[in-house]
Symmetry: none
Subunit: 299 residues, 2 copies
DNA sequence: CAAATAATGAAATAATTATTACATTTGAAA
DNA sequence: TTTCAAATGTAATAATTATTTCATTATTTG
């Protein structure tokens, strides 16, 4: 009882402090660091837990700098010496450890507000698990084959599902190269007029099903295209015009969809196809990467 | 076949191993121990994680025995010396740490190919759990307050993160009504020219960080806006210009991002704000719904 | 209850680990 | 290019930590 109440307080107080914790201070000082100091900072930030166990020489080796640089780093971070820095890192790791303990001990306690936040994450993770356990692998493989041998691939996703469609399109087109996206319905759908049995049409719609999406899929089905839908229930209006379908839970609350589960399904599809198209994809990616590096990417 | 077989085997091997790990060996030897050795054994078994960080004199004090007894204990356990024992304890703790991260994996068996597919879903669920366990609730609350009292809210998200930005924008604008989205950088960013300390700017970028996103956030930071970033590592280039930041794992493989975890974070933000803005939101929604019903929604 | 034996701790010593001093390299400015 | 300051690494030194020795205290056994 008391324990519980106090824990919450202790946590929030501690949490407030954490925004000024070792890691944060290191990250914020990175731009004032020399080259090897930045190396050390990066190593620490990317290996938080194991660094806590290292002595000077081990960390020096791992971060590929001299021992002296480690000491200088510690003093630069305003510690008396390495042992002080190490102590802070160890405390953080211990904290991390005990937090994980609490989280995985199922009956985690948060204060009212925090519990609500945590629940959203936990529910999202559950949605993914649920989607997986309802997944028909046979269907999955078949759809992958159809996508691979398709002449064109259309993705139809309206309104809020448009974001999912955009993401799916962005990567599927990198992998396959013959993809079209239809998210608005002001004539965009014209590109689908000559759809036929060589094409795959993937509709994405949930809950407040978008009329236009439903109609477009019906049209494609009529034209004998290979229709696939990603939707939420068997009672969804797209099901009857789908040759194949995937069910993923998407409802979060009255006004908001959680697209976490369908997104995970899309990840699975893209990864699968990426593996399949390995060689071609590599070429496509190296040229893309070159372009990105030139124009747009911040290292 | 490998995957499937190995998963089970790996587990049982691990279990088998664990039955012969440091802790187990200590426990099994307890009855052959002297009084102070038993004291030490008890202390170690009851404080597994913190013992990993202790040196001889600290452990001696904690277990209330002499330093010599600690050394004798280590040799009694057939280690060359204390450092060897300590190393094993540290390895166990590290293992413990990473095992917790894996805990959400389901233990279903799949065949070769299917295991790969299932792994993607499981990993995605893990990413969400990881994001939650690293979440600083204090920061979360503070950022929510800033969003609520902001004059304008800008969402900056380029390239593949644009999909996330679109989704976020779509709903955040329903909830708040004063949101602007910047996904391309061909003049769109002009709307941000007069950004100031009353505005919140949220940048979303991962891995191959989009230069323009980084620069825009830096600009906003310079103008003293409340800068928030959703990114993947503390070494991300947006961190140093972020007044607040959220870390969510986003890497799936070489060419593909998994946005499942940041999406779950966005869900949490939207739900939180939705609850807060309850009354206003309801009105906004009923009018929206009316519109949807009329034009676009298939029941 | 001795006498022998085992267990323990304090303190000296050995080994390891952190820090400093100094030499070398790197990089920027003239 | 040359010069100088900053950054870095190497190696010597200081500090810390682990181990051993030895004196003392428990514990067992005849």
């Amino acid at each position: 009882m008391e324990e519980k109440g106090n824990r919450k307080n202790a946590d929030s107080i501690k949490k407030g402090k954490e925004m000024n914790d070792v890691y944060d201070r290191i990250a914020k000082k990175m731009d004032k660091m020399s080259k090897s100091q930045r190396k050390i900072a990066e190593y620490i930030l990317n290996n938080k837990d194991s660094v806590a166990f290292m002595n000077v020489s081990k960390l020096a080796k791992e971060a590929d700098v001299s021992e002296a640089s480690i000491i200088r780093f510690a003093t630069f971070m305003e510690y008396k010496g390495y042992p002080q820095l190490q102590k802070e890192l160890q405390e953080k790791t211990r904290e991390h450890l005990s937090m994980k303990e609490r989280l995985t001990n199922s009956y985690t306690e948060y204060n009212d507000d925090d519990a609500g936040i945590a629940k959203i994450f936990n529910d999202d993770a559950d949605r993914i698990q649920k989607t997986l356990s309802g997944l028909d692998f046979q269907t999955f493989h078949t759809v992958m084959e159809k996508i691979i041998s398709a002449r064109r691939i259309f993705i139809v996703a309206g309104r809020s599902a448009a974001a999912l469609g955009t993401f799916f399109y962005y990567y599927l087109n990198i992998v396959m190269g013959n993809v079209e996206l239809i998210t608005s319905f002001n004539g965009d759908e014209e590109i689908m007029h000559n759809v036929n049995e060589e094409d795959v049409v993937i509709a994405i719609t949930f809950k407040m099903y978008t009329r236009k999406t439903v109609e477009l899929l019906a049209y494609a089905f009529e034209k004998n295209a290979i229709t696939v839908s990603i939707t939420d229930f068997m009672t969804s209006p797209v099901i009857k015009n789908s040759k194949y379908y995937f069910l993923t839970e998407a409802q979060l609350n009255t006004y908001l969809d959680s697209f976490v589960a369908p997104l995970s399904l899309i990840n699975a599809i893209l990864t699968y196809l990426g593996k399949y198209k390995n060689k071609e994809l590599e070429e496509r990616l190296t040229s893309l990467e070159a372009m990105w590096n030139e124009f747009d990417v911040f290292q």
